[in-house]
C-alpha cells in the first residue's frame, strides 16, 4: 500500500507541476472578442490573407480576450444600406471610399439616431485613384499618352455613329463603356458624379441648380448611352473586361489597383489579353481611400472598439502596407515610396492624378442619383417564366411576388415583356415601356397560375427573337429566364438555341441572358450553358432566396 500511495503521490505532484508551469492553457483560455468587418471587395486579395495572419497570432485585449476578426466583402453602398436598415451590425465598416460617408450618415440619422454613424476622420488603409481603364491600342488611337483624355472624350466616342471605325479600327465596333450601378457600388456613384461635374464644366461647388441644366443632363445621357450594362461590384467589371477582351468592353470605370493586378497577370503570362492602361480623367477624379470606420453604433462595445483599433494598427504596420503595394495599391503609409508595380509597365502613372473633384454635399449626391435615373440607359427586358405543373404551391407564389418586386425596381422608361411558358408560350405583355402599363402588368403577374409541360428552349428563343425584332440597339437588352425543371416539350433543340444566342457580333452590346435555376429539379447545366456565352449570369434560387436573386439581377440595369 505504501508503494501504491507513493506512486500516486508522485504522479499527482508531477501533474500539478505541469499544469502550473504551463500557465494559461489555450483550452482553458476562455473569452474571445469578435471584430466583424464589412468591406469593399476591391481590397479582398490584400485583406483576406492578413485577416488569417492576424487571427493566427491570437492577439489579446487588456482583459485577456482573444481577438477574432471576421471580414465579409460587400459593395460599399449596399453595406451602408444594410447597416442603416439594421440587417447587419458590424464593428467596422470599410467602404471603398469616403465619398459615400456623408450620405450614409444622413441615412443613419434619418432612421432615428441622434449621432453620426461614422464620426471623426477614419484612417485610410490603402489608396487608389478612380480611373478609366481602356485597352492600350484604343487609348493610343485617342491620343494617349500625349493627349490628356477624360469624360469629354468618352462622351464624344459614346455618341459617335462610326465608333472605332473613325480611328481606323472598324473591327472594334462601337464604343462600349461599363461602370457599376450607382445605387450599389462606390465606383458607380463616383462615375456619375464625375460625369455630372464634367457636364457642368466644374471641379467644385456643384449645386442643385447645375443638376437642372439641360446641357448637364444631355452630357450624362451621352456618356451613359455607351454603357453595356451596370453591375454590382467594381471587381466584377474588371473580371468581365479582362476575360472577354476589347469586343466586350472598350473601357470601364475601375480603380487603378485593378489595372495593376491585371497587368501583373499578363506580364506573368497568366493572361493573353491586350495590355490595358489607366486614363486619369483630365477633368479631375476621386480617390478610393478605403477608410476603416469603427462604427459609432449601439451594438459596438468598448472592448470591440479597442480590439478593432489593434487590428487597424496591424494593417497600418509597414509589412502589411508593403504588401498592399504588391497588389497595386498606393500605401496609406506615406513613408513607402511609390515604386513597381505602380509604373508604366503595368499601365499606370504614379505621378497622376493631377487634380481631384470636390466631394459634393449629401444633398447634391442624392440629386445626381435622381438625374441619373432620368437619363440612364433603359433596358429592353424579356422575362421568361416557367409556369409548368411542377411550379405549384410555394414556388409559383414566391416567383410571382419576387417578379412583382423586380418590376418595381425597373424604371418607367424600361421596356418589359413577360413570356409564360408551359406547353404554350404566352406573352403576358409586349415589349413596351413600363411607364404606360405598370399597374396593368403587376395585376396580370399576380394572376399567374401553373400547369402543363416545360418548353424552356422555345421560350428563350421567343424572348430572343422578340428583342432582335423590337429591341432598341441603344438600350441594354436582356432576357431573364426562370425555370424549375428540364425542357420537356420544345420544338427548338438546345444546340439550335445555343447557335442563335451565341452569335455575339455586337460584342458587349449583345443581348444578355440571365437564368434562374429555381429549386433542385432545375436543369442547372443547361441554364448555365444558356447564360454564360452571352455575358449574362446563372443563378440558383428557391422560394426563400428568389427575391434576392431578382434584386441582384436588377443591379445590371
Amino acid at each position: 500500500m505504501n508503494r501504491d500511495f507513493c506512486r500516486r503521490f508522485v504522479v499527482l505532484v508531477a501533474l500539478s507541476i505541469l499544469v502550473a508551469g504551463c500557465g494559461q492553457l489555450p483550452l482553458l483560455g476562455g473569452k474571445a472578442v469578435t471584430v466583424s468587418i464589412y468591406y469593399g471587395s476591391e481590397k479582398q486579395a490584400w485583406l483576406e490573407p492578413l485577416v488569417e495572419e492576424y487571427n493566427a497570432q491570437k492577439n489579446k485585449t487588456a482583459e485577456g480576450s482573444t481577438i477574432v476578426v471576421e471580414a465579409t466583402p460587400m459593395g460599399s453602398i449596399e453595406s451602408a444600406n444594410a447597416i442603416i436598415a439594421g440587417e447587419i451590425q458590424p464593428t467596422v465598416w470599410s467602404p471603398a471610399s469616403s465619398v459615400y460617408v456623408p450620405v450614409a450618415n444622413a441615412g443613419w440619422r434619418g432612421s432615428e439616431h441622434a449621432e453620426d454613424l461614422v464620426v471623426g476622420k477614419p484612417e485610410d488603409l490603402v489608396l487608389s485613384p478612380v480611373v478609366i481603364a481602356m485597352w492600350r491600342p484604343m487609348a493610343e488611337a485617342l491620343g494617349w499618352p500625349d493627349e490628356p483624355l477624360g469624360w469629354a472624350d468618352i462622351a464624344e466616342m459614346a455618341t459617335s455613329e462610326e465608333g472605332w471605325a473613325a480611328y481606323g479600327y472598324p473591327e472594334w465596333g462601337s464604343f462600349k463603356l461599363g461602370h457599376t450601378h450607382p445605387n450599389h457600388s462606390n465606383s458607380g456613384i463616383v462615375s456619375i458624379i464625375a460625369e455630372t461635374y464634367a457636364g457642368a464644366g466644374k471641379q467644385r461647388d456643384l449645386t442643385l441648380e447645375d443638376l437642372q441644366d439641360a446641357g448637364v443632363k444631355a452630357f450624362v445621357a451621352d456618356v451613359e448611352s455607351s454603357i453595356i450594362h451596370y453591375g454590382r461590384s467594381t471587381g466584377f467589371f474588371a473580371t468581365k473586361m479582362f476575360e472577354r477582351g476589347p469586343s466586350y468592353l472598350s473601357a470601364a470605370v475601375l480603380y487603378e489597383n485593378l489595372i495593376v493586378a491585371q497587368e501583373s497577370e499578363r506580364l506573368a503570362g497568366r493572361s493573353s489579353q491586350l495590355p490595358v492602361v489607366a486614363i486619369y480623367p483630365k477633368e479631375g477624379t476621386f480617390w478610393s481611400n478605403h477608410p476603416y470606420a469603427i462604427l459609432n453604433a449601439p451594438w459596438v462595445t468598448a472592448e470591440q472598439k479597442v480590439a478593432a483599433e489593434d487590428f487597424l494598427a496591424f494593417l497600418l504596420d509597414r509589412p502589411q502596407q508593403l504588401a498592399a503595394l504588391e497588389y497595386g495599391f498606393r500605401p496609406a503609409d506615406p513613408s513607402i515610396p511609390l515604386s513597381a508595380p505602380l509604373d508604366a509597365a503595368h499601365g499606370v502613372d504614379a505621378n497622376q492624378p493631377q487634380t481631384v473633384l470636390e466631394v459634393p454635399s449629401a444633398q447634391v449626391i442624392a440629386g445626381i442619383e435622381v438625374l441619373w435615373r432620368e437619363v440612364k440607359k433603359p433596358v429592353d427586358l424579356v422575362v421568361a417564366m416557367d409556369v409548368s405543373g411542377s411550379m405549384g404551391g410555394k414556388k409559383i407564389a414566391s416567383a410571382r411576388s419576387s417578379l412583382i418586386e423586380f418590376i418595381n425596381l425597373l424604371d418607367d422608361r424600361d421596356r418589359l415583356q413577360i413570356i409564360l411558358f408551359s406547353d404554350e408560350l404566352i406573352a403576358l405583355t409586349d415589349l413596351s415601356p413600363l411607364g404606360e402599363k405598370r399597374e396593368d402588368v403587376l395585376r396580370r403577374v399576380s394572376g399567374i397560375v401553373e400547369g402543363g409541360d416545360t418548353r424552356l428552349y422555345d421560350a428563350v428563343q421567343m424572348a430572343y427573337d422578340e428583342l432582335r425584332a423590337s429591341g432598341d440597339p441603344q438600350h441594354i437588352r436582356a432576357v431573364v429566364v426562370l425555370s424549375d425543371g428540364k425542357d420537356t416539350a420544345s420544338t427548338m433543340s438546345l444546340s439550335g438555341l445555343m447557335t442563335e444566342i451565341g452569335n455575339l457580333s455586337e460584342g458587349g452590346s449583345a443581348t444578355k441572358v440571365f437564368t434562374i435555376a429555381f429549386g433542385s429539379g432545375a436543369d442547372f447545366n443547361v441554364l448555365q450553358q444558356i447564360a454564360e456565352p452571352t455575358g449574362g449570369k446563372q443563378y440558383e434560387g428557391d422560394p426563400d432566396t428568389i427575391h434576392q436573386v431578382y434584386a441582384e439581377i436588377a443591379t445590371f440595369f
Binding site: 471623426g120 476622420k121 467644385r204 498606393r330 506615406p334 497622376q352 492624378p353 493631377q354 487634380t355 466631394v359
Partner: protein, 401 residues
C-alpha cells in the same frame, strides 16, 4: 550501481537541500527571482508597483517623443525602487486641453504644440474647477522643450509655376489671389492642375491652423502686434477677404502631424500647398520625394513659434511621485542627447541655445535647396485670450465646414 537505502537517503537529502536552496535564493536574490517560477514568486513577494505617468502629446512630435520615451525606459528610471512607466497618447492640441477640461482625459503630463493652448487651459480651468490645472508661469511645472515656426509647404513643381521667386512680404496676398482665381491653375499655365488648393488644420482642434488664421489676420492689417477684437469684428473688408480665402478650402485637417502624412500620401492632386510646422516639413521631405516629388518651404513675412511646453498638471489625480517622475522625463527631454536628436533627426530647433543649428548633419542646412533657412522672420505678438477667442469664434461662424 545497486540502490541501497543509504544511497536513497543521500539522494533525498541532496534533493531536499537543492530545492530549499533555490527557494531561498529566489526570495533573496533579484536575478534569481527574475527567472524563478513566477506565480509562486509573486505570491510571496510582489514586485514593486510602477509609477505610471500618463502623457498627452501633440502629434507633430510623435516620432521624436516616442524615441525619447523608449530611450528613457531603457535606462530603467525609478523612484525609490519603483520603476517609472510612461503611457503615451497623441492628440491634436486643442482637443487635448478640451478633453482635460471635460474630464475625459486625466494626464499627469501634457504637451500641446504651443503656449496658446496652455494659456487658454489655465483660464478655462480656473473658471471651471476653481483652480488652474496648469501654471505656465511656474518654470518648474511648465517648460518649453522644442521650437519650430509655422511655414507654408508646397509641392516644388507647383510652387515654381505659382511663384517664380519667393513672394516675400506679398505671400499671403498673392496666395489669396491664386486661391480665388476663377480659372485656377489655368491662369498660371497649367489648366490640368484644376484649382489652386491650399489648406490648413482646423483652428478649433489644432495649433497650426490657429496660427495660420492669426498670421493671415495680422498680415491683412499690416502689423505684428496690437491685434484687437475690434479689428476682427468691425472691419468689413477684412472679413470679406478672410472669408473669401477660407472659403476656397474644402476640408480642414484635424491635427498637423496626421495631416502632413495625408498630404504626402495623396500628393499634389489633393493639396498644392499647406501651412504646417517647419519640423513637420523636414520630417516628411524624404518621403515626399519617394511619393510625388520635392517639397518647397516658404516662410511667411511674420511667423509664430510653437515651443512645445511640457506641463506637469496640478490636479488631485497627479500624485507627488507621478509629478516627480514627470519632471524627470522632462529633464531627459531637455538634456543634450534628446535636444540634439530633435534637431538632427526630426528638424526641431532645440530650446538649448548651446546647440549650433548649422552643425554637420543639421536638416536646417541639408534642406536649404528646399527653402529651409536658419534665420527666422519676426514673430507676431500673441494677443490676449479674449482676442484669440474672438478670432476663433469668427472663424467658427463663417469658415468652418
Amino acid at each position: 550501481m545497486p540502490v541501497t537505502p543509504r544511497l536513497n537517503q543521500t539522494l533525498f537529502v541532496i534533493y531536499l537541500l537543492a530545492t530549499v536552496g533555490v527557494f531561498i535564493a529566489a526570495l533573496v536574490s533579484p536575478p534569481v527571482r527574475a527567472i524563478a517560477y513566477a506565480p509562486l514568486r509573486d505570491l510571496i513577494l510582489p514586485p514593486p508597483e510602477p509609477v505610471v505617468v500618463h502623457v498627452l502629446y501633440s502629434t507633430e512630435k510623435a516620432a521624436w517623443i516616442n524615441e525619447a520615451a523608449a530611450r528613457f525606459a531603457a535606462a530603467r528610471p525609478a523612484i525609490e525602487g519603483r520603476p517609472i512607466q510612461l503611457e503615451m497618447k497623441k492628440m491634436g492640441s486643442r482637443e487635448m486641453y478640451l478633453s482635460v477640461l471635460d474630464g475625459t482625459e486625466q494626464p499627469d503630463l501634457m504637451s500641446t504644440a504651443s503656449m496658446l493652448q496652455i494659456n487658454l487651459l489655465q483660464d478655462l480651468s480656473t473658471s471651471k474647477f476653481g483652480a488652474p490645472v496648469v501654471n505656465p508661469a511656474d518654470s518648474e511645472a511648465c517648460r518649453p522643450v522644442l521650437r519650430t515656426p509655422l511655414v507654408l509647404v508646397a509641392w516644388k513643381e507647383r510652387a515654381a509655376a505659382l511663384w517664380g521667386n519667393d513672394p516675400g512680404s506679398e505671400l499671403w496676398q498673392q496666395l489669396h489671389d491664386a486661391l480665388t482665381q476663377p480659372n485656377g491653375w489655368e491662369a498660371y499655365g497649367h489648366p490640368e492642375w484644376g484649382y489652386v488648393k491650399f489648406s490648413h488644420t482646423n483652428p478649433l482642434k489644432s495649433n497650426s491652423g490657429f496660427q495660420t488664421i492669426l498670421l493671415l489676420t495680422y498680415d491683412y492689417f499690416g502689423k505684428t502686434d496690437g491685434l484687437t477684437s475690434a479689428d476682427i469684428l468691425s472691419d468689413a473688408d477684412y472679413q470679406r477677404w478672410f472669408i473669401e480665402f477660407e472659403g476656397t478650402i474644402s476640408s480642414f485637417g484635424d491635427s498637423t502631424g496626421t495631416y502632413m502624412e495625408e498630404i504626402v500620401a495623396y500628393g499634389p492632386s489633393l493639396h498644392d500647398m499647406v501651412a504646417v510646422y517647419e519640423a513637420t516639413a523636414i520630417e516628411h521631405a524624404e518621403s515626399a520625394v519617394g511619393r510625388y516629388g520635392e517639397l518647397q518651404i516658404y516662410y511667411p513675412p511674420a511667423t509664430h513659434m510653437s515651443d512645445h511646453p511640457f506641463c506637469v498638471l496640478q490636479a488631485d489625480w497627479v500624485t507627488p511621485e507621478e509629478a516627480q517622475a514627470a519632471r524627470m522625463f522632462v529633464d531627459f527631454l531637455t538634456g543634450r542627447e534628446m535636444q540634439e536628436l530633435a534637431l538632427l533627426q526630426h528638424g526641431f530647433r532645440p530650446v538649448d541655445d548651446g546647440i549650433p543649428l548649422d552643425q554637420p548633419g543639421s536638416p536646417l542646412q541639408r534642406y536649404a535647396a528646399n527653402g529651409i533657412r536658419i534665420d527666422l522672420p519676426p514673430e507676431v505678438e500673441v494677443p490676449p485670450g479674449n482676442v484669440l477667442n474672438t478670432l476663433l469664434d469668427f472663424w467658427a461662424r463663417n469658415a468652418q465646414r
